[in-house]
């Protein structure tokens, strides 16, 4: 266990959902101010330190130059700041746990910098921080993530349950999240969390989170783990009421299905980077929504667990080394992320939203998914895609009040 994981476990034992923002500022003073505000919010919180995009892509010279010139960066350049500066940001936070978020397909320098500053939690994964956001070969990402994990003694969260932000059917999200956690464990990480991003239908999402927990119990029985839910990551409602409702629904979903932690989104999401105040509001609103529901063991089984299990087993059969297995799986199309344009993704899978608002497969390529789960007559034109991408935002923005 780690400071971060301990805090999540402690809140869970008290029946409280841990809520967490996205937040990163270049200035150490502003970063510290943001963390203090999150710590002092009326909610069970953990903090976030998000790095800037130069640091994300490994261009630490550009980040240093920007710091020297006083240019605005879109996050905290943890590799470029001296570890003593980062320790100063965290000084006196009284053990308040902070996770470093980065989005990097080569996180080695970031892992080194966060450990040097006394931090113990971060996130990502060899698939989830390569395929959707990078042109870097998957092979390189697997190699770099292997090396980063080998020397890491903290808590590591998979980003695999958030692939593409939207329109990825839950069975594949659950499978990739589990596979990245198995990869972390193989490389010596002893405390993990598994992500899942809220999609288009609350019942389908609850089923997916139950599936994620069942597979974590099976494949990660000898390490500490919990599930983290992300508030919807696709096109976001533009109205304050719509945005708040979607975030509150994610909090209720997390509690109902047995997740321990939630990454929130704010009312500013559709418009700009949120202020600290907007983040605190989103955290407090989510915590209040979470307190109104309880864990529910029951859920409708429409086959998400079976689908995810088949995918995970098919991949792990390919090699005893999960990194090697993931590479072979993408090469053969046994994993195929719909609408992902990365050269190492087969690109034959497609999805749509059905009449009940659930995500469905239109085609599955070579993935080991039952043909009965595929509806190839689903709409596939540009107008339908645009409608699917905007569906959740539209529903929440037009809800009568």
């Amino acid at each position: 266990m780690t400071g971060f994981a301990d805090a999540v476990a402690l809140a869970g034992a008290e029946g409280r959902l841990v809520v967490q923002p996205r937040m990163g500022m270049a200035s150490p003073a502003e970063m510290r101010g943001g963390l203090l505000a999150v710590r002092d919010a009326r909610a069970a919180t953990v903090g976030t330190l998000t790095v800037d995009s130069y640091t994300r892509v490994g261009d630490h010279q550009a980040a240093l130059a920007a710091l020297r010139d006083g240019a605005r960066l879109n996050g905290y350049p943890i590799v470029s700041h001296d570890p003593a500066v980062t320790r100063g940001v965290l000084d006196g936070l009284d053990g308040f746990p902070v996770q470093v978020r980065h989005g990097s397909a080569d996180p080695r320098a970031i892992f080194g910098a966060l450990a040097a500053a006394g931090l113990d939690a971060t996130e990502g994964g060899p698939v989830s921080y390569c395929l959707p956001y990078s042109r870097r070969p998957l092979r390189d990402s697997v190699e770099h993530w292997s090396q980063a994990c080998e020397g890491f003694s903290g808590h590591l969260e998979t980003f695999g349950g958030c692939m593409m932000g939207q329109l990825c059917p839950p069975g594949l999200l659950v499978a990739i999240s589990v596979l990245e956690a198995v990869f972390f464990r193989f490389h010596g990480v002893r405390s993990v969390s598994l992500s899942y991003a809220q999609q288009t239908n609350a019942d389908q999402d609850a089923e997916a989170i139950h599936a994620l927990r069942a597979l974590a119990a099976r494949f990660l029985s000898d390490v500490d783990w919990h599930v983290v839910v992300y508030t919807y990551m696709g096109v976001f409602p533009r109205t304050r009421s719509g945005a708040r409702l979607l975030n509150d629904n994610a909090a209720r979903l997390a509690v109902r299905a047995g997740a321990r932690r939630l990454i929130v989104k704010t009312v500013a999401e559709a418009h700009r980077i949120p202020t600290v105040t907007e983040n605190v509001d989103a955290l407090e609103s989510a915590a209040l929504a979470a307190s109104s529901v309880v864990f529910d063991e029951s859920f409708e089984d429409t086959g998400v667990l079976a689908e995810a299990t088949a995918l995970v087993e098919a991949v792990l059969e390919l090699s005893a080394d999960p990194g090697t297995a993931l590479l072979a799986a993408f090469r053969r199309g046994l994993l195929d992320v719909p609408y992902c344009l990365h050269p190492d993704n087969a690109g034959h899978a497609r999805s749509h939203i059905d009449d009940t608002g659930r995500l469905r497969w239109s085609s599955v390529g070579a993935m080991p998914i039952a043909r009965t789960s595929v509806n190839s007559t689903g709409p596939a034109d540009s107008a339908s895609l645009l409608a699917a991408l905007n569906r959740v935002a539209h529903l929440h923005d037009t809800r009568p009040w």
Partner: protein
């Protein structure tokens, strides 16, 4: 008649839903599409244009760096011989604070055949790809 479109993101932009959508839109208008995906550096962009010899090049960006990254991509393309006849267009959210007409004009002056950066972008783009100049080579929607 190959009616081929080369579709690409810009160097610093990791977004891809815009590219997925535009590919469908172009295919529905009868084009074949080579989609290069996200984060395409200028040299790779120009290499692919040389290799594919498309009838139209479409750059799309939504991360706010499009005015700058688009100019860099076109400048690299203009260093390669034999590509001058291929129309290149760009669209999306090209700046961090909404459309900037002066910067759009600068892109046109630099050699972009069209810039789609405002509220009418998709409508104008649809009209553009249906225009006679391009229809000469494009097939029809079945």
């Amino acid at each position: 008649m190959k009616n081929l479109v080369l579709l690409s993101g810009t160097a610093s932009d990791s977004h891809t839903w815009n590219l997925v959508y535009l590919q469908l839109l172009l295919e529905e208008s009868g084009y074949r599409v080579v989609n290069l995906g996200a984060c395409v550096p200028p040299a790779l962009f120009a290499d692919e244009c040389e290799a594919e010899r498309p009838d139209l090049v479409v750059l799309s960006s939504v991360n706010g760096h499009g005015y700058r990254d688009g100019a860099r991509a076109l400048a690299e393309l203009q260093t390669r011989p034999g590509l001058a006849g291929i129309p290149v267009v760009i669209g999306g959210k090209l700046g961090t604070g909404g459309p900037e007409p002066d910067r759009a004009d600068a892109l046109r002056a630099a050699g972009f055949a069209e810039v789609f950066d405002d509220d009418t972008a998709i409508t104008r783009f649809q009209e553009f790809i249906a225009s006679p100049v391009l229809c000469r080579t494009a097939g029809t929607v079945s």
